[in-house]
Each structure stands twice: as structure tokens, then as C-alpha cells.
Symmetry: C2
Subunit: 192 residues, 2 copies
């Protein structure tokens, strides 16, 4: 986690603005879990708020409801195998952190598990209880209370996707266990 630096809250939503797959972590009563989620998005920049779909059948959802909190950790391309693995199994009967050798420490504000192993950013989030959307759409709203990113790929509020940091580029789940990686694209200057 040597390269992780705090991100100002006004820039926190940029960490997931472009639709990366995230690892949702939570912890409560001595138990913890991590799952992959392709379905998350910011809903407001200031205050920074996000929405994430967490199936009501998952162990993570149980922990999130109990803790009133979760973290979104953003995996880099180097850990595509791990990302797939933690999205393919339940943590109800096994500690996925231990099984996969995932390095984690408690987040600074809410104590949610912050993943070091291969993650390039994280957002610690306080659940905003919305019973109806949680029930009807498995959609959980939350406010971001702390965030950080790897300075080698995100600094001064901006992503910098380069050829020399390709292992840190974000992952985007195409479905069926297939992933894309975000690479920079140039926008042509408008004609004058």
C-alpha cells in the first residue's frame, strides 16, 4: 500500500466515474467479506455519493446492513484473476481474505477492510439507508467519507493511464468472467 495517497473528497467520485469493476468489502461482529461488483456508479460529486448493486442473497449485503458501511476497492489489471475469483464464490463459509492471501487493513473512518493487494484506489462509504431501493433493486446508496488512490496512476484528481503503468489500469467486467482494461484515448481537438 506504499503508493496509496489520500484523495480529496471532492475528487473521490472520479475514482469510479469510468465504470470500473470494484471489490466491495465489509465487516461486522468479527466477520468480514469481499465480493466483486460490476454495478456501481457515482450519483453526486459533492457531497460524494455512490450507488452499488449488492444482491440481497449475498453475505456482503448482510454485513453491509449490519455495519451500515462498506468500502469499494478498485483492482488494477494485474489482479484480474483475483477479481474474478472473489466474484465467483461466497464468503459465508470461508474467509476469502485468508484463502486468497489478500492483504487488508481497517479503513480510517469506518474500519471497513481496505485491500492492498493489487488495488489502485479505495472509497470508504457510509450506507444511506434506503429501504425501498435496497429491496426493489438491490441498490445501496452511500456517502463516501474517505478515499485514496495510487499516486502512480491517479494524482491531483486525475487518472493517468499510460503505457508504463498498464498493470494498474482499471478493470471493467464485460460479463461471463471476461474483462476489459481502461486505456487512454485521445480526444480530437474541435475544428475551429
Amino acid at each position: 500500500m506504499d503508493h496509496l495517497r489520500p484523495v480529496e473528497l471532492r475528487h473521490a467520485c472520479r475514482l469510479i466515474n469510468h465504470g470500473p469493476t470494484v471489490l466491495v468489502t465489509s465487516a461486522h461482529g468479527g466477520r468480514r467479506n469481499v465480493m466483486a461488483a460490476a454495478w456501481s456508479m457515482p450519483v453526486e460529486f459533492t457531497p460524494p455519493r455512490v450507488a452499488v448493486v449488492i444482491d440481497k442473497k449475498t453475505f456482503t449485503r448482510e454485513l453491509v446492513a449490519a455495519a451500515g458501511a462498506f468500502a469499494l476497492c478498485v483492482p488494477g489489471a494485474a489482479v484480474v484473476g483475483l477479481t474474478y475469483a472473489v466474484g465467483s464464490e461466497s464468503g459465508r463459509d470461508v474467509d476469502k481474505f485468508a484463502r486468497h492471501g489478500i492483504d487488508a487493513r481497517p479503513g480510517p473512518v469506518l474500519g471497513m477492510p481496505i485491500i492492498g493487494s493489487g488495488c489502485v484506489a479505495w472509497l470508504e462509504c457510509r450506507l444511506i439507508p434506503e429501504r425501498h431501493t435496497e429491496d426493489a433493486y438491490d441498490t445501496c446508496f452511500a456517502e463516501v467519507v474517505a478515499a485514496a488512490a495510487d499516486e502512480r496512476i491517479f494524482s491531483n484528481g486525475h487518472w493517468s493511464l499510460r503505457d508504463d503503468n498498464v498493470d494498474l489500469h482499471t478493470l471493467h467486467h464485460l460479463g461471463g468472467g471476461n474483462f476489459a482494461r481502461a486505456d487512454a484515448v485521445q480526444r480530437p481537438r474541435p475544428a475551429r
Copy 2:
């Protein structure tokens, strides 16, 4: 639009599963609009449902509320300039389709504008009225009622991001007018 082929509804959410920036279109009472939106996600595969953040101050939101419908059109990398342009201006006083020479036709079920120009997929969506989340989070839920994708990059329910179709790869807004492109990444086989 020669290459667009219908997508089965059970696969429709895969079109935005990986977090691409979309063009939200709507039309009502002889007026129409298009805006770029980075913040959208699926919330359910079957029935296919999505959520998209549409600021309540926008003209698009007004049209969506009146029509009870919208379309999400997924731009390819070749039209990054257009995607930026329609995300940077209001359509309240100008028809952005005419201004930018955007080719559009009415969608098959709800008549929402389906963009041809450079778009590689579209989802026609019926708004599910959710007053509270629309008010509190600008988050609009909707059910997908028809979808299509460019057969050169999406077929049999799967994206195929290759070197020979790079202009069709999806765009992902990093913030501040900077975009990433989705490129394929290989997932290592698990050790036996």
C-alpha cells in the same frame, strides 16, 4: 446503422455492464435531446433494468419525465469528440442532433431517438417512476424493452474487443473531458 442487430433482452444489460459512457436520448411533444452520461449501471439482468443519473436541471430530465422513456446509446471510440460535445452543452435552446449532424431514428417500442452515428449499441428504456430516488439522487430506474448492438463487436451476448475493431470499443469518462477506451485483457487461468 447497417451493422446493428437485435440483442436478446436477457443479454441487454451486458451492453453497459462494464461502465461505458452512454448518450441518453429522449423525445416528447415534437422536441428531442441527447446528453452524455457517465453514471449508469444495470441493476438487474432479468427483467433487464438499469439506473442512470440525469440531473434534474437538464432538458433531458424534463423530456424523460414527460415521455416516461429514454434510450441509452453506447458511443464507440471513433466518436469521442461528439460524445464530449453533447455532454458539454444544453439542448434546451438548440437541437443537438441537427447541430452535430447526428443520425437518429425512432426506437421500435417507445419511439426514443436511436443514434446511428458512431454508436455501437442501444437500449430503449421505459422509466420506472421512483419519485424519491429521482428527487434525492437524480437516479432514474428503468426497464429495458428493446436493445441492439453492432455485430462487429457484440454477438451472441458477448463483447469482442479486438485490435481490428478498436474504433468501436466503448468509451469511459475519466472526468474533466478525458476518456478511456475499453481494451481486452486476458484473465490468467487459475493454478491447478
